[in-house]
Symmetry: C2
Subunit: 446 residues, 2 copies
């Protein structure tokens, strides 16, 4: 480690890396592609996706790469942009806690666009995806949680850099060029959590995928960039988490023997809204199903949330569907009334439903002090019924997370919901091929 | 100001703004386009530009917009990327001190690409350019000098946001969409000064122009973004200059009556290297011409530089031509030996010239404490001759800056050098039309 930078060490590992070669890593990668393709199809007809598609045709023209849910094909970077937009449009795609990123919504669109253009196999896609996750986790370890908590949207900062490395690895570039791809991506790593609640928040995943593709292709042609960009003066760590005294060695500890996809996995969502609400919503489901809670018999419900979750859910009285996705009170009302939060709940008429709006004040949130677990801390929901009865529910593991993964039928229901929502039922056959993704020789045949 | 954010106030001004309607603003805008087009042509055949062109064809495909110095045409965002890359490839393009940006290398490629696609007139281009400069100055006032000094490359942070606003103004978007364009551009505003000395530094101008075009076109289609993104929690000011207690009102003070292009103007370069060296190089020219300095009769020369200039010139013993551009000692040797620094001095064989390398240790730099003038502070050069004679030269105004603008013949010589360097002499006719840019009805006829 003495003569090369931490970024070069990561790039060298990515260039030479063997796959983790475990059933659990393989299955989680395939599940992640399955989940994100369902989300891309679901989001493909969303208002903001159609706008972004229109803008991308203006700025990038048409090309040869697939745009999920659309006939039109776009050039490589444009396809990554629109597919990333689709993937995150409904906030239904997965979370990757070691990165504090929506990892797959950035990685998959970038890898698919470049993989198609280069006739890559399904196995190459899986391997590059696992490398990309690991890079996101390692880069995140240098800056988080300060980075995320100070306002940066890690999906489009950490996510862009990690995905650029993954694309470069997919292209079998040598280590120096994988490092250059990530260093160039550092010059495209932006995005604030201030955009949560606006259409630009989901756009971040598309921009990150786009920028990862662009950075990697610039590295392909040999554009040079500083190889020591992760740590030290003016580096990613210095500019994006200046107050975090994190020893840079964490970026390479146990590299190659310990894999984030095995240790942490991903969190597939049951509900199409900010993951910060999901543990609390799991508690509300219990409150409804096991304690008979209804909007009528509840007096007051408080979700006690660790700071990062509390801050993300800043819209207590959401007006638009995008604000509703970053609310606790809004999805809480629908879980109590209907037992779930569904895609249909993020339409203007659903958000303005008088019964729901009247019930919003029942549900409030409190910020609790947490130990070093941060976003991983337990969430506690306390409910007071009109009858005077009170209930407290503590949630440690979120449903959809690695300890409570979505069941096969959960995922089938999610896929069906996504296809039905967007009118893309004709895309169903792709989901029959995905379990054998490793065996697909050219992903253009997907 | 009470009900709208500072970003909305800037956007409202940009939507309604009358041109400053002054001869000096008009002339400076035309000079800036002239200078940058010469630089784009000069940089068009540079190694890194050819790489970026190749990568852009892969990621964006071909299209309809002009790429200076090349036959191939690219889609709007791709043309902005490659032209921005060309403009800054040789570090010969202008500086805009109120922004701490290479303003024109970002604004002109973005405005030309979008202006061509929309058949804009030369007058529209000039007016949008002046608005873009003002936006860069205003946005910069919220974060600089802390932002720049902490390591951010303002050209690709402030530059991207200001250029997105300028493109949106060129397209005559309403204020809300101009604001959205800038807010989306905030999600693309990145780039560290760590890249100085690598090929990614000049690439920043191309990426900024590309991202400004993309952000503005996303706003055209109605993509929403938070309108209060410049100040407050998680804002541009908060994330990019967290320790600067700058009152946000500076962003709108005297807006519409005081124009940065009139008050400060631009700094056109005489030498194709980092502007941080230029005052010192002016002093060396005096040392050579008025005091008879040669590499043989000089014992020791010290350039006393304010901190930001000192830090930018970090390569005392440059190995590559990109490092040589961010050096004081290297261009100092060529000014003393040949009376100038020219494009030909940034080739590998020039950087490895034995006489030059032997003379590098003569020239050292010192960091001096400065008052609030920062980058504008005087530069002092002290020289000790072998004879024992010593000379001190203080430079307040740099040649090429607003107080000592390039003469007509200076500019003619620069254009001829640029065209000759890149073998693009056939492009000379454009420079005969540029003085009448205001009268050109469709810039496609340029």
């Amino acid at each position: 480690m003495s003569d090369i930078s931490f970024a070069e060490a990561l790039a060298t590992w990515a260039a030479d890396s063997p796959a983790p070669n475990s059933k659990i890593a393989e299955q989680r990668a395939i599940d992640a592609f399955t989940d994100v393709i369902a989300c891309m199809l679901a989001g493909s007809q969303n208002e903001v996706t159609l706008k972004v598609l229109d803008a991308t045709i203006r700025t990038h023209g048409k090309g040869e790469q697939t745009v999920f849910g659309h006939e039109v094909k776009l050039p490589m970077a444009g396809a990554a942009l629109v597919n990333g937009m689709s993937a995150h449009a409904l906030d239904f795609d997965d979370n990757f806690m070691p990165g504090l990123t929506h990892a797959t919504a950035v990685l998959a669109p970038a890898l698919i666009a470049v993989g198609e253009a280069n006739n890559c196999s399904g196995g190459q896609l899986i391997d590059a995806y696992v490398i990309g996750l690991e890079l996101q986790a390692r880069i995140s370890s240098l800056v988080n949680p300060e980075h995320y908590q100070s306002g940066w949207h890690a999906t489009s900062t950490v996510g862009t850099i990690g995905a650029a490395g993954a694309v470069a690895a997919l292209l079998r570039l040598p280590a120096a060029q994988i490092c250059a791809a990530m260093s160039i991506a550092f010059s495209l790593a932006a995005g604030s959590k201030l955009q949560f609640g606006s259409q630009t928040k989901p756009l971040h995943a598309g921009l990150a995928a786009h920028n990862a593709v662009l950075a990697a292709q610039l590295a392909v042609t040999g554009v040079g960039a500083q190889p020591d960009f992760l740590t030290g003066r003016w580096s990613f760590q210095d500019l994006y988490a200046p107050n975090l005294a994190r020893p840079p060695e964490v970026a390479v500890e146990n590299l190659g023997t310990q894999w984030a996809i095995e240790e942490f996995g991903l969190l597939a969502k049951r509900f199409p809204c900010c993951a910060a609400s999901h543990k609390a919503l799991d508690a509300l489901e219990i409150l409804r199903n096991e304690h008979g809670a209804t909007l009528a018999n509840l007096k007051h419900v408080v979700a006690k949330l660790p700071a990062p979750l509390y801050q993300n859910l800043r819209f207590d009285n959401p007006v638009t569907e995008n604000e509703a996705r970053f609310s606790f009170s809004y999805p809480a009302t629908t879980v109590i009334r209907e037992g779930l939060v569904s895609l249909r709940h993020f339409k203007p008429d659903a958000v303005s439903d008088p019964e729901i709006r009247a019930a919003l004040p029942i549900f409030t949130r409190e910020c609790i002090e947490t130990d070093e677990k941060g976003v991983h801390a337990d969430v506690i929901v306390t409910a007071e019924f009109q009858s005077g009865k009170s209930v407290e529910i503590k949630i440690t593991d979120v449903r959809g997370g690695p300890n409570l993964p979505l069941s096969h039928s959960d995922m089938e229901r999610k896929i069906a919901d996504c296809l039905s929502w967007s009118g893309t039922e004709d895309q169903k056959p792709i989901f029959e091929k995905l379990p054998s993704l490793r065996e697909i020789e050219d992903i253009n045949t997907l």
